[in-house]
Amino acid sequence: MDIARLKRSFAAIAMHGDEVPLHFYADLFLKHPETRQLFPVSMQAQRAHLVQALATIVGSVGNVDELSAFLRDLGRGHRKFGALAEHYEAVGDSLLATFAHFSAAEWDAGLAADWSAAYQLIAGVMVAAAQADEQRHPAYWTGTVIARERLAFDITALTVRTQPRLDFVPGQSVAIESPARPRLWRYYSMANAPRSDGTVTFHVRLIDGGAVSMALTAGDVVGTELRIGPPAGALRLDTGSARAVLLVAGSTGLAPLKAMLEQLADQAQPPAVHLFFGARAADGLYDLPSLEKMAAARPWLTLVPVVSAGPGPGRTGELPDVVCGYADWSQYDAYLAGPSEMVTDCARRLAAAGTPAAQIHVEDFGWSEP
């Protein structure tokens, strides 16, 4: 297999931009109409995902470990979409036809054979990972919404009973699909440590025009059966550490950290914990009463609410400024979740102020973003 040639070939094909995935999906749907129902009505985001995944695969061909980890996650992640082993063959056919179409004069038997062999390898890893996963997990969990509580004007807590029971580690997230918006999946973090009754709670922020968030926060959502993907994400408590803990939550980034806080509270001797909870304005500190109650009953927990502007119950300023100006965190395990800009900035500044990188944990969906 001439890898350098495949890379050159892909670069030339990718020059055609959105036309490439557009052609690919049209080709696939014409040859295999039954695959159309696996995708949402609008394919705009889907096309971007495909190109991104292809670029990642081609870009990491040299790094076998990274590539196979990516492909295994991709294979497992595709189970919830209803992808079956036979679909992989159809996808391979259309992908090759699309590459041939856009390669034009460049396309010859050698290139076709190389692309075909490369695809067989890729699909092989994905299918194998998906089949191994079948032994352990369903393709998706069914989650019935049993309670809906509006925590703030635009933030709703949904409590869901899953079938079968969803086992997860606090800090993890799942992709959720609402029947009102089929084939659109969005990630939400579990906002609780595993409960004896197996229910889970999500904090859903209503996004203007956000298809899934609007469906999930609607008034009649109780009773709805959601589809829930497998737990994903690398954020989790370093249970082997004896260090004190710093939690920094921006807005609904609170959800995974609250789950971890519950996990800490269950420990026989919880470490000292500082929780910074930030929002733009006071009414964005949506879960403050329950956090205050928690802090009042637990001397090891210090709660610091932060608003970036205007009057608030705690400190005023940008979250990373307040956190870094508050104390020396170099001996702490830091866990950050929230808007990616805030998380990146805060992680960078903690590292600059002396917290070792290994002690800074941020929310990361890895390769599993749908």
Binding site: H16, G17, E19, L22, H23, Y25, A26, D27, F29, L30, P33, R36, Q37, V41, S42, M43, Q44, H101, A104, A105, F153, D154, A180, R181, P182, R183, L206, D208, G209, G210, A211, M214, A215, A218, G219, D220
Partner: protein
């Protein structure tokens, strides 16, 4: 060729328009252009670019097809200009165009619903602000009355009202304040409930509308 329904040949952006476009200057003597017209124009430029790219892609594909035909002819194949493979490429092109139209409709609907919720948010903020003002006003009024009542009490050397007449007057005043408070409480309650009902109506309409959208394939 793309033939989008929202596409209007007459309104196409021309190089001449790019040359001659005039943006209004901001008022009040500040430097720079009004943001809104510039944004609108950028949207137009973007739409035009999308059209051009689509057209270019179609033409490119057509060139490729014809090139293959010619090569086939040179290799001694039948010199047909439109074969079975071409029919498939043609079908792919039609489906691609339909998909783009669908994507556009979904994006438009999403943008529309985004605007609706944004408007609702603005209205909510306005309602909250007014309610806050109203509450502040009521509170201020109550404080004034309480102060007046206290002053009146002190004027009587702190003694409770002695005569029946005085007692009746104070009771009447108390009854008035109670009624006043009750009426305003009711008033605020109805007002708040009405706001909540409107929001819920919106939500259920939104849900109903969403259900009418056919699922799966388009």
């Amino acid at each position: 060729m793309t033939s989008d329904p929202w596409y209007d040949e007459q309104k196409r952006l021309t190089p001449d328009r790019l040359q001659s476009v005039i943006f209004p200057l901001t008022r009040w003597g500040r430097h720079g252009y009004e943001e809104e017209p510039v944004r609108a124009f950028l949207t137009e430029v973007q739409a035009e670019m999308v059209r051009l790219i689509n057209e270019r892609a179609s033409l490119w594909q057509e060139v490729q097809r014809l090139r293959r035909r010619i090569l086939g002819k040179e290799n001694g194949n039948d010199a047909i200009l439109f074969g079975k493979d071409d029919a498939h490429v043609h079908a792919v092109r039609i489906l691609s165009s339909a998909q783009r139209t669908a994507d556009r409709y979904v994006a438009d609907a999403q943008a529309y619903s985004g605007r609706l919720t944004e408007e609702a948010r603005v209205r909510r903020d306005e309602i909250m602000r007014q309610a806050q003002q109203h509450a502040d006003m009521l509170l201020e009024e109550a404080r004034t009355r309480a102060r007046a009542a206290a002053v009146a009490a002190i004027d009587r050397d702190g003694l409770p009202p002695q005569t029946d007449q005085e007692r009746r007057a104070v009771q009447a005043e108390l009854a008035y304040l109670r009624t006043f408070g009750e009426v305003y409480r009711q008033h605020l309650k109805i007002y708040t409930e009405d706001v909540l009902r409107t929001i819920e109506d919106w939500e259920s309409k939104e849900r109903a509308a969403a259900r009418e959208i056919p699922r799966g394939s388009s």
